[in-house]
Subunit: 362 residues, 2 copies
Amino acid sequence: MSAETRVFPWPRLHEFCAGVFRHLGVPEAEARLAADVLSSADRRGIDSHGVARLRTYFDLISVGKINPRPRPRIVRESPSTATVDGDNGLGLVVGPWANDIAMEKAERAGTGWVAVCHTNHFGIAGYYVLEALKRDMIGWAMTNSSRGVAPLWGAERMLGTNPLAIGFPAREEPPIVLDMSTCAVPLGKIEIAVRKGESIPLGWAIDREGNPTTDPRAMIEGGALLPLGSDREHSGHKGYGLALAVDVLSAVLSGANWGPFAPPFALRQADPVRKVGKGIGHFFGAMRIDAFRDPDEFKAQIDDFVRTLRATRPTPGTPGVLIPGDPERTAQKERDVHGIPLLPPVLEDLRDISRRTGVSLE
Amino acid sequence: MSAETRVFPWPRLHEFCAGVFRHLGVPEAEARLAADVLSSADRRGIDSHGVARLRTYFDLISVGKINPRPRPRIVRESPSTATVDGDNGLGLVVGPWANDIAMEKAERAGTGWVAVCHTNHFGIAGYYVLEALKRDMIGWAMTNSSRGVAPLWGAERMLGTNPLAIGFPAREEPPIVLDMSTCAVPLGKIEIAVRKGESIPLGWAIDREGNPTTDPRAMIEGGALLPLGSDREHSGHKGYGLALAVDVLSAVLSGANWGPFAPPFALRQADPVRKVGKGIGHFFGAMRIDAFRDPDEFKAQIDDFVRTLRATRPTPGTPGVLIPGDPERTAQKERDVHGIPLLPPVLEDLRDISRRTGVSLE
């Protein structure tokens, strides 16, 4: 690690984030909630979605592009569903609010499903399903995001990385927590290759003409990420279809901007030329297990399934089969003890925010 | 096409299938329904799931492994959910029955979700979401299936090809109908390569040791298919996670056999050594659009999304971006006019069934 890399205990980063949000006019309880969601990403090892993004939240609230005191409201509902207008609030605040409604609906109707428009970047999708797991429910979370991914056979960025998460509770084993984007690899991997001057594998990206490329700069400079599956031969149409389904559930169902019209989560990027809805969109789901099956039986079977998968004969040169959520759990165990390492540019951003807000980082 | 290939109008194949099911003791209405589901696969160009499978249904009913007169029943329910025991019936009959319950639940509660155990192969997942589209709902369908796919970093078959389908209605444009397995390619592509003596691309399969292979026979002889995403570098953990989620929703939630213990859809394959539930499992969902948003607005936006995607600049050497469901619609248009071509081995199977049952094929 470079001399500039610093390690912080997560509660310190949490306190800092909450202080910054408060400084920006976010009410106390919501500032803490936003800090919960943000720091959960750092704790789980998903550095791209944690305090590294604080700068962008700070910028967008500062210039008035995100409302620090939103009054989200239900604009339509049925026994098992609701549609929420997030009043252009932080996704980190509107998301948990809408996710709670999904769980409350599930308490009464067996399942609850909430589509959200007029919202912004909501952190990691995994956060929301972990909340459902606390209530012994199966949790779902999705969001659309600004365009970066080409549909199969398209030469342009038309869809976001559109993540989806789903979590299933176990009894003695840890829960199954799938938290994945629907593209082949995240943008972060391309950026790292650019920084290191390395090439990238075929199947990650195309250049501006739509040709497969191993040059990460060719993706950055007008190219696009590829969907999960990469090319036709490896079923890139499936990853594209999943990204589209996430976009429809999150944005079309809720009345948000969909596909290439989702606004960027960045101050310096221009908004798309067309507006087809309000903000970006999320989609949350919660399912009560006892609406389907005895929860103890269900969880005992998940334990059994997890152990059965772990006992799979490993392929040569690998650690063997993991359970979705394992890498994040390993990171969290490590980071809750040893702290969260911040790279120099992130640290510089936080120090700058500290200077500008008077909120102490140290 | 070989001299042996024959083309049949789909109503002829439908009539034949219904006759065979009746001969096997399936009641009239259910025999027609099973034929509907089966022939929908042939019409949509998914030859692997249509009359080519009639032989296996025939075998399994004949030896008493599938119940021709099931009495499926709801074993647990809530306003938006139900769990169904399919009484070991044809998935082609139990599936539509359970899917109807999902839609009825949605009528009242906004959404409906039905997990099914003690059932068998249900044809194409796409059939069920097309039924939901007829009622102007968003439809979901999934099923688990017998093991053929390795989890990432595993050297053994542990999961099925576990398909999932989801459909969204449009107004003037055709609907978006995603119908995909969660593995990199279907077994059929491996079998075709064996027959032609060709190699397969890396990323489709591993051999019995768990090594990547380009030899299709190495997959057949104790190897495994790879999940969508193929290897770690291209996010094979995501396809594996999706396959696992489909398995849990279909089989663990319902009380069916999950993962490697799902019974095979074939007479000659031995049942797995362990039994962890009843039969295989399906999962159906239906969402009323007006539970979230004005349906006309929703459908107008889907039209717009579809047109926006079609207008994407194409990558060189491709026809450009398709909408999920396009290939199946093209096939159906063609086949409803020109008929359904049957390959010699399929034709031979049907002729054999015809001889044994007295049901006329011609």
